[in-house]
């Protein structure tokens, strides 16, 4: 229960490795522990709600399942919320921030989208409270932007603090940095799959996490092919030429090579990344939806 006791879970990895699936599975796993969960998707497209069979949420926090809420964090809306917190009056906000030219100008502020998105996450994790004054969420699960952007996303507070030394932004960046680096509060997870490029990116990402001294979570190896055929069986099957074994030969060859890759990259990841690893089997589901996510939730929950 080392990592699941933390409140903020940041799910990172290359595009297409299944970050949203792992995010959805972590949400279900936390739900099973009777936690009140908020999913924050800081991605181009919202995915978690539909994976769990619920309609998309958009920029408002909406309930998508028993004790699971979700929100799609988008820069434009996050910007408005953040700016309104600073200037407090909507009239001033409209006059200044909705101004077309100001908008151009604000585009030049480095990392502004990341700042406001992270600011929103910070508010949900650290500030938001229930009626009894306790943190409103037991678990906030953040589906982070894909690797390249993911690293710059996590680096934002540091980047800004290097550029600016005074003003309200500095105070906010320090708060965000404190949240991101607190090992009692936050865990950064890495998702990858057993292929060359996703594994390289996972290694890079993990190096960046270590270098930034961010609290480490788990490594999820998705699309993992279990060892199903022995070398002997594969060799013998490959040497047959019976027509009746056509489908079997193709299936065994495909699976066999994929199981080799899985074993190879699993070993490499264990050598190069010092994180506890969870293997997520490749699921041959007719529709990749709720049922598949439930199965993965069981696996990630078991090792929490």
């Amino acid at each position: 229960m080392v990592w699941s006791s933390r409140r903020l879970h940041i799910v990172t990895g290359k595009g297409g490795v299944g970050k949203s699936t792992v995010t959805a599975a972590l949400a279900l796993a936390a739900q099973r522990e009777k936690k009140r969960v908020l999913v924050c998707e800081v991605t181009a497209k919202e995915r978690v709600a539909s994976l769990l069979g619920a309609p998309d949420c958009g920029p408002e926090v909406k309930r998508i399942d028993e004790s699971i809420w979700s929100v799609h964090v988008r820069p434009a809306e996050a910007m408005r919320e953040y700016a309104l917190m600073v200037v407090r009056f909507r009239a001033i906000y409209n006059a200044v921030f909705e101004n077309r030219l100001v908008r151009y100008f604000l585009r030049a502020v480095p990392s502004l989208p990341e700042i406001v998105e992270l600011g929103k996450v910070w508010w949900h994790v650290v500030k938001e409270q229930d009626e009894e004054g306790k943190p409103r969420w037991d678990a906030v699960i953040l589906d982070a932007p894909a690797t390249g952007h993911g690293i710059s996303f996590l680096r934002t507070p540091r980047t800004i603090l290097e550029l600016v030394s005074e003003g309200p932004m500095v105070r906010d960046m320090k708060r965000m940095q404190a949240m991101l680096t607190d090992p009692a509060l936050t865990a950064i997870h890495v998702v990858t799959m057993p292929e060359e490029m996703p594994v390289n990116e996972a290694v890079d990402l993990h190096q960046a996490i270590v270098e930034m001294q961010l609290p480490e979570g788990r490594l999820f190896l998705n699309h993992h092919f279990e060892r199903r055929f022995s070398a002997d069986e594969r060799q013998t099957l490959a040497s047959t030429d019976d027509g009746a074994l056509g489908p079997s030969r193709l299936a065994a060859r495909y699976w066999g090579e994929r199981q080799d890759l899985s074993a190879h990259y699993e070993a490499r990841l264990r050598r190069e990344i010092e994180l506890p690893m969870t293997l997520i089997p490749y699921l041959a589901a007719k529709e990749f939806g709720r049922a598949a996510v439930e199965r993965i939730a069981e696996i990630v929950g078991r090792e929490g």
């Binding site: 001033i92 151009y104 550029l163 005074e166 390289n200 013998t236 699976w255 890759l261 041959a284």
Partner: protein, 383 residues
């Protein structure tokens, strides 16, 4: 269609969402052109090591690197053209551009030493896209290559890529900066003080948000950028004309994953709306269906066939049962993929030919693998 595109166009732009194997496909397309006698360059703007991986190179700088004959020989290939590759170094391309357009050495130094410049040049939204297009334009104009294949960064919207120059130019336009910075800008002062900023209600409010310091650096940056706008503007216009013109072709890459197909459909509509013609679609990593081959598919039949071939039916579960499971699972995946390809085809109204790349058993990250991708690529369903 794809063959004709690779033979006759000067620029091929591969667009698509992240994680679909766009970099691999881009490299494979350049390889095909090189095999057919063209001098082809593949340009990636991905900050990761993907392209270097797929060409079996340890590193790729901001320099054009030729893929050596020995690599081709090792993969059993004999190209009649040349294959070159490069990864865009964002910072360096920006620096080059500043060097080119700065009206004076002093102005150039001011920009290069601006505290915000580094963050701006690598962090500004649209910056990466802009510089990639800039580089493609430069390479095409220099005429050193018959074909440049551009692997674009994964963006949420296909048009983010095309609009990047405009958005960036808006930022640097006289009007925006002059209006915001008022008199300070008109006077051409570089060392802007708080007094100048403080005169505007809007700037005061912004300063509460960003802090005065950041705003000052920004203002300094904008002031320094004055006079460079026209150069940028001309260049961006020419680049856009090149990419939407006859010399260029767009290829839309996707995987058969339902979520990425949704995105690809969305991309296709966006491109159409801005009157950009998609020359071909490529669906990458499609599962092959074992049921396309005649033969046994359930455990008892497989067991009989194994006995006939004297293959021991051992293990737990028995080999025949494991084979049945694997055949069934793979065919489920293949059917799922087939449905998605059909859906993609229908949603785009058959506007462009779809090419399918089977999901290869091995992992693609060298020339031999890229060649295997090309060999396995075929047009979808003949229509």
């Amino acid at each position: 269609m794809l063959g004709e595109v690779l033979e006759s166009r000067r620029v091929v732009v591969c667009v698509g969402s992240g994680g679909v194997g766009k970099t691999t496909v881009s490299a494979a397309l350049a390889l095909r052109a090189a095999m057919n006698g063209r001098k082809a360059l593949v340009l990636t703007i991905d900050p990761a090591r993907r392209l270097a991986n797929s060409l079996g190179l340890p590193t790729l700088g901001n320099v054009e690197t030729r893929i050596g004959e020995e690599r081709f020989a090792a993969a059993g290939l004999k190209p009649s053209g040349e294959l070159w590759a490069m990864t865009l170094d964002l910072r360096r391309t920006w620096d080059d551009l500043i060097e080119r357009y700065a009206p004076s050495a002093e102005r150039r130094e001011t920009i290069l030493h601006n505290r915000l410049y580094q963050a701006l040049s690598t962090g500004l939204a649209g910056s990466l896209e802009y510089m990639a297009m800039e580089k493609v334009y430069e390479l095409e104009r220099a005429g050193g290559y018959d074909l440049v294949v551009l692997d674009t960064p994964p963006t949420a919207h296909a048009l983010d890529f095309l609009d990047a120059p405009n958005r960036l130019l808006d930022l640097f336009s006289h009007d925006a900066a002059r209006w915001l910075l008022g008199g300070a800008l008109g006077a051409g002062r570089v060392g802007l003080s708080l007094v100048h900023l403080g005169s505007s209600y809007i700037l005061k409010t912004l300063a509460r948000f960003t802090g005065v310091e950041l705003l000052q650096s920004l203002a300094e940056f904008f002031v320094a950028f004055q006079g460079m706008y026209d150069g940028f503007h001309e260049r961006a216009k020419a680049t856009k004309a090149l990419l939407s013109g006859e010399k260029s072709a767009f290829v839309l890459v996707t995987s058969p994953n339902p979520l990425t197909v949704d995105e690809a459909v969305f991309f296709a509509h966006e491109l159409k709306r801005s009157e950009i013609h998609v020359a071909a679609g490529i669906v990458n990593r499609v599962h092959e269906n074992p049921l396309w081959q005649p033969g046994a598919t359930d455990a008892p039949d497989i067991a009989r066939a194994l006995a006939h071939e004297r293959v021991p039916n051992d293990g737990r579960p028995f080999l025949s049962e494991r084979l049945e499971t694997t055949v069934t699972e793979l065919s489920v995946l293949a059917q799922r993929d087939e449905r998605e390809i059909e859906r993609f085809h229908e949603a785009t109204g058959g506007a462009f030919a779809l090419h399918v790349v089977p999901r290869l058993a091995r992992d693609v990250h060298d020339l031999a693998g890229l060649w295997q991708v090309l060999e396995a690529m075929h047009e979808h369903g003949g229509g």
